[in-house]
């Protein structure tokens, strides 16, 4: 991906500052809505890492989001909230392991096969959580107590308080963005970008392309798991639908709409998609058609996604993904 155009960076900073002010004067509902959007943004950024960073288009990424969400519920003891200090690393670790297992099979393929394989794995996990009563069954499961943030016996933060949760998710969203940036700047990240640009060349240069792709897949999965964990923390109830290919399709839409060029793209896409959906839903009963048309138009007219609006070059037709 190209470095975030400078202007976009300023906009992002402004947006973060604006967001930080939201809990001070916005209605409770919007605090909660934006919290949801921000965890979706983390989810979208994880897929962005996979798609724009490594060139791996996954239609099953929701399985890691769902896994992270379910893990919060499964790891929480019956009468109290689980401690966030070990729940988050445990969740991300388990999800990363799951990603390694599915990735080991999926990453061997590429292109259309990879897309369909990830779709199929997503469906497999959906049915696992839907059919197996042990994991909650079709109506899903829930947790009574949110995770606790305590140290030395005192509560540092109460995640039951909406503004607090808002800031925690905001902080994690910014941290994810920065972490992905650092990753892509590091040698590991440069290798990934190189693989995406020209896989054969990297193979010829001696890199173990398979291993690199697998690691990126696992990382993207782990971050998606974190996003799922935050979702479950917010709503306390989870459902097998979180694994469905519809959710995978939605987050892919966010990534593409936001633009494949800028690292900020997926986050922009997440905000844009959910806000547009909210706006359209209020306006018309047939808003699904409107979204469908919107998506098609966006694809046909803005080949590089919404982030293109910032770089003043919306009409350039791309044949292959850019590399930076």
């Amino acid at each position: 991906m190209t470095p975030t155009p400078r202007i976009l960076g300023w906009v992002a900073l402004a947006a973060v500052i604006l967001l930080a002010l939201v809990p001070q004067f916005a209605d409770r509902y919007y605090i909660q809505l934006l919290t949801r959007i921000m965890s979706s943004a983390i989810f979208a950024m994880s897929l962005g890492l996979l798609v724009s960073g490594a060139g791996l288009v996954s239609l099953g990424h929701a399985m890691f989001f769902g896994l992270g969400a379910y893990l919060l519920v499964l790891l929480s003891p019956a009468g109290e909230g689980v401690s966030i200090w070990w729940a988050v690393p445990a969740t991300m670790g388990i999800v990363a392991a799951a990603a390694l297992v599915t990735g080991a099979l999926a990453v061997r393929t590429s292109g259309i096969y990879f897309i369909m394989l990830t779709l199929a794995f997503g469906e497999m996990l959906f049915y696992l959580f839907h059919d197996w009563k042990v994991l909650g069954g079709s109506d899903g499961i829930y947790v009574d107590f949110r995770p606790t943030v305590t140290a030395f016996g005192t509560t540092l933060l109460s995640l039951d308080d909406r503004p607090t949760l808002f800031y925690v998710v905001l902080g994690l969203m910014v941290a994810t963005y920065l972490a992905i940036g650092m990753l892509l700047n590091a040698p590991f990240g440069r290798t990934i970008l190189g693989i995406r640009a020209n896989e054969q060349r990297m193979e010829a240069l001696g890199y173990n392309v398979y291993a690199y792709k697998l690691v990126v897949f696992a990382m993207a999965g782990a971050i998606a798991g974190l996003a799922g964990f935050l979702y479950a923390t917010q709503y306390r109830s989870v459902n097998p639908e979180l694994f469905s290919w519809r959710e995978s399709g939605l987050v892919l839409m966010m990534v593409i709409l936001g633009g494949l060029r800028a690292r900020l793209g997926p986050a922009i896409g997440a905000f844009a998609l959910v806000l547009v959906e909210e706006a359209l839903q209020a306006l018309t009963d047939n808003w699904l058609i409107a979204i469908g048309v919107f998506v098609i138009l966006a694809v046909l007219l803005l080949p590089n996604g919404l982030a293109d609006l910032a770089s003043h070059r919306p009409w350039r037709d791309r044949k292959a993904p850019q590399h930076g």
Binding site: I7, N239, A282
Partner: protein, 402 residues
């Protein structure tokens, strides 16, 4: 990453204006946060499926409820009513967000919904967290009046276990000794067949096989062949909508209808008879409502509903109607003050609902205690046969409320 100085960018001001304009445009279409005032209209949030497979159910519930309220003058406890409709599309993944939109965003006084159990499960969570008044006019998810029961959660329909139990009892009374159950692999199916098992056991019957179809698959051929090879005394099935249509037709086409009786809860033959055609003739089902119940309240309701909506009644319309009746009674008792929760809930809980389905009351877990009827499909309609079980309450051990 090195910065490319060749990047052309828009001047900052224009960018900011574009962004701001877009955000403002989007934000201006949001529902404005509601302002409460004494004597103001009472807001009821109707979270139902207005699109998708269950839209017909959602519409009937909403119209039934409004009929009940309009019959009493269109006011609740003296206050005018404002309905806020939200299409939940029967999508569980959005259930919590949608419920929040009504309860926290629109600040509705009362939340009503929904049809799909997965969505209802999410609504129950939100209602519990926000202490919001929730009336469930259909979703039979057991936990809502079981593990997750709460004083602010009422159900005016049924729990999935309830319609199955009477069918089991009737099957045992008819002399069947063993049975096979078949349904989708999802919570509603499991709870319903459990009800059948319990009822069947009261007469000494035993379920030998539980066959399951992946949801929402409708390829039944393999399992129908399996049933033929097992040769049970009878088969109990729970399917709804498209699945019910196909299963009944396939069961007949496989010749099983002639030799192995098929039983199910009323959903098997509700709204599906036209599509099922002759395959459904003679089917016995149990439900807490039949269209031709002889009581006068039902006769009047059928006529009124038909007149108001140009559609015939069904069990969903009745459930909606009763939801409306319960609200009218409760709010009248507190003179429209929906915030006087203790008295409001007590009034609703103690209500003997004069329903088209026959009088019913709330159990201690706030689920209906009601009569279940045996119905038979005759000439393309469900006809009342007899009362299968009187005043059936769901098992309430899981609910820890007083």
């Amino acid at each position: 990453m090195t910065r490319h100085s060749s990047d052309k960018t828009l001047p900052m001001s224009r960018r900011a204006v574009l962004g701001g304009a877009a955000a403002a445009a989007a934000a201006s279409t949001f529902p404005a946060p509601a302002v409460r005032a004494q004597g103001a209209k009472i807001k009821i949030g109707l979270m139902l499926p207005y699109s998708g497979t269950y839209a017909a159910l959602g519409n009937n519930i909403a119209d039934g409820m409004m009929l009940a309220i309009n019959e009493k003058g269109g006011k609740l406890g003296g206050r005018e009513v404002r309905y806020v409709k939200l299409d939940d599309e029967s999508e569980p993944a959005k259930g919590a967000q949608n419920a929040n939109k009504l309860v926290v965003g629109e600040k509705v006084d009362i939340l009503v919904g929904t049809v799909h159990s997965g969505v209802a499960a999410a609504m129950v969570q939100v209602a519990r967290e926000e202490q919001a008044t929730l009336l469930i006019p259909n979703a039979g998810v057991g936990d809502a009046t079981g593990k997750l029961c709460a004083p602010n959660i009422f159900r005016t329909s049924f729990s999935n276990w309830q319609p199955g139990f009477p069918m089991g009892k009737v099957a045992a009374e008819m002399g069947h000794k063993n049975a096979v159950t078949i349904t989708w692999k999802y919570a509603a199916g499991e709870e319903s067949t459990q009800g059948f098992k319990d009822g069947f056991a009261t007469g000494g019957g035993k379920v030998t096989n539980d066959l399951r179809v992946p949801f929402p698959d409708v390829e039944f051929q393999a399992l129908l062949t399996e049933i033929a090879s097992i040769k049970p005394d009878c088969v109990y099935t729970f399917f709804a909508g498209g699945g019910a249509v196909k299963f009944v037709k396939d069961y007949d086409a496989a010749g099983l209808k002639k030799s192995i009786p098929l039983y199910g809860p009323g959903f098997l033959t509700d709204g599906t008879l036209q599509a099922q055609g002759a395959s459904a003739d003679g089917l016995l089902t149990t439900l807490h409502y039949v269209e031709d119940l002889p009581n006068p309240i039902n006769q009047k309701f059928k006529a009124d509903f038909q007149k108001a909506t140009s559609r015939p009644v069904d069990v969903y319309a009745v459930q909606g109607y009763d939801t409306g009746q319960v609200l009218v009674h409760g709010l009248t008792a507190v003179k429209g003050d929906a915030a006087a929760k203790k008295d409001f809930y007590a009034a609703m809980k103690g209500y003997k609902v004069p329903s088209p389905r026959g009088e019913w009351t709330f159990s201690k877990s706030q689920n209906p205690v009601q009569d279940f009827y045996l119905r038979k499909v005759v000439g393309g309609e469900n006809r009342y046969q007899k009362i299968a079980v009187k005043a059936l309450a769901e098992p309430t051990d899981a609910c820890k409320m007083a």
